[in-house]
Symmetry: C2
Subunit: 336 residues, 2 copies
């Protein structure tokens, strides 16, 4: 039985949205799993009362009296609030009582907490944030989306390996291909780290590397040398790209509301377009490199986004992502 | 009388698109100017014959027998093709016979040609490419969009000064505000260059600096501390962002064609949306840092895009952009 912990106090609409998302997930996501709602029990129970049809045997409420605010300094908050929903939720996984943790709370605190409590695989100094971008075909995982700035070429190669495992186990790609985000398709293009990463990725026999991928290729999911499942980049570029992408939906929305007639605004077709462009439907951003399953949701996550995150967490846990990564990323000199 | 040279051989639809764009500009852009069409005279004349209403006294055809291909290596092409439309067009400006040059040809060759023939202002090692991004208000100039990777903090400050001059003289902003593209609004965020650039930009009394701008702020044209006219970033980030932006129109287009009814696809409202999102309407990308006016168009530039570029070139020349920049960017120790 897979156990998925949700930070019930995380996100702008907590605890209503995480609890409603858990209810949606239990009703709609296939699989044998339970949800652990972590946070202030009284508030969680009050929300659960709004979902009377829930099978309470599939829900566990785990008390965590402290709440880390969205604007708090991550390390300071974790130190002063030992019983926060973030610390308690990750603690369940650390002690073998849970298989995954989902939070739409303070991203920095979740990252710091996961790093301290779950630890990182050998060779990583910080976790990487993966983000699924929609494409005309299947979504593509872009990493790092903001945890690592000033990346070395070796770090970019590390991201490639993390992304390949995730694409295989969670996105269901049997032989994931990797692209390197760059400013041109030619080998000699890019900044110093990208040039060196191109060399290392090409030489890495364990990777299916398609070469440089340009900004325009991401949403197509393919470049001239083929399609790709994973795109690696420095967290500085990845974060700017991700936030820029988020803002486009808003701009297009404003334009559409201004320029198109009311009946189109209400149409099912337009709703499908929004759904497609909304990357929340792809289930949040996995924190990769930590020895565990940890999914970060947007602060504004809807119940729908939490449901998608549960689906992703379930895929990761049931396909043994952590075991696979543990056997690849070992201390140097140690054989499996 | 302002003289605007157009590379009639540059771009995927040359010479038809540049010639048609020149015709549109002469008919629709206000101002006292002539257009110099640079390229193979016979081909240009054949295209001009399609525009019988043109006032030929406002058009000069300048012979340039060589053509630089889109895929050619820039420096090699410039060396072997001394009489290319790029070299001849820039040569007119160098010798005082023209005030601006517009090309949708090989970007690298235009950049290299402009650097070699027009030269750079003191303190710059390469030109920067500015790109106007649409916002819900007025467009914002983002630079560098790809000419400079691995930028130092000092280079980013240089871009800010270039951008401010351009925003004032060409975009008509009396007191242009500058933002630094970064991964968070807090001062301490970012990679090493961004952190140092934040310090230098804050200390620069000649700039109106609004602080860090995130990916999501660009299309809004404002961050929490106010609106901005210019956004500076490393050319690596800028290029990826620009190409990503280009690709979004394509994705949205595919979705709209699939999901919305035919009468909406033909509606004037949808046409207005496309026009808004199409940054070609903002007139191409100025090459900044060179001692002259040089506008780079997209390889797929339409006549409409050439017309917009002429408008921009006319603004730059009539508002004395080059004189203003020359008086700011002087060799050290020399006073105006």
């Amino acid at each position: 039985m897979i156990r998925i912990a949700i930070d019930a106090m995380g996100g702008d609409s907590a605890p209503a949205a995480p609890v409603a998302g858990a209810a949606q997930a239990l009703a709609e996501v296939a699989g044998d799993f339970v949800v652990q709602l972590v946070g202030q029990s009284a508030a969680i129970e009050a929300e659960l009362a709004r979902h009377p049809d829930l099978n309470r045997r599939r829900i566990e409420v785990v008390e965590a009296p402290d709440v880390v605010g969205m604007g708090e300094k991550p390390l300071q908050a974790l130190r002063s609030k030992k019983q926060s929903s973030i610390a308690v939720g990750l603690g369940l996984q650390k002690t073998g009582q849970s298989d995954a943790f989902i939070s739409a709370g303070n991203t920095g605190a979740v990252m710091a907490g996961a790093t301290l409590m779950l630890r990182l695989y050998p060779g990583f100094e910080r976790p990487a944030i993966g983000t699924p971008f929609p494409t005309s075909g299947e979504p593509v995982l872009v990493l790092d989306a903001g945890a690592n700035v000033d990346c070395t070429a070796e770090e970019l190669v590390g991201f490639a390996h993390l992304g390949v495992h995730y694409a295989r186990d969670v996105l269901g790609r049997p032989e994931p291909a990797v692209g390197l985000l760059n400013i041109g398709e030619e080998t000699e293009k890019g900044n110093a780290a990208a040039k060196e990463a191109h060399r290392l990725l090409t030489a890495d026999a364990a990777l299916r590397f398609v070469g440089n991928v340009e900004g325009r290729d991401i949403l197509a999911g393919r470049c001239e040398r083929g399609s790709f499942d994973v795109v690696v980049c420095d967290g500085f570029v990845g974060n700017i790209l991700l936030k820029f992408y988020e803002s486009i939906g808003k701009l297009v929305n404003t334009l559409v509301e201004k320029e198109l007639p009311a009946e189109v605004l209400k149409s099912e077709g337009l709703r499908r377009i929004w759904r497609y462009l909304d990357y929340a439907q792809y289930g949040g951003a996995p924190l990769l490199g930590v020895r565990g399953v940890c999914i970060i949701g947007h602060g504004r996550s809807s119940p729908h986004a939490f449901r998608a995150a549960v689906r992703v967490a379930h895929e990761a846990a049931s396909h043994h992502l952590v075991q696979h990564m543990s056997s690849e990323f070992q201390p140097r000199g140690v054989e499996a």
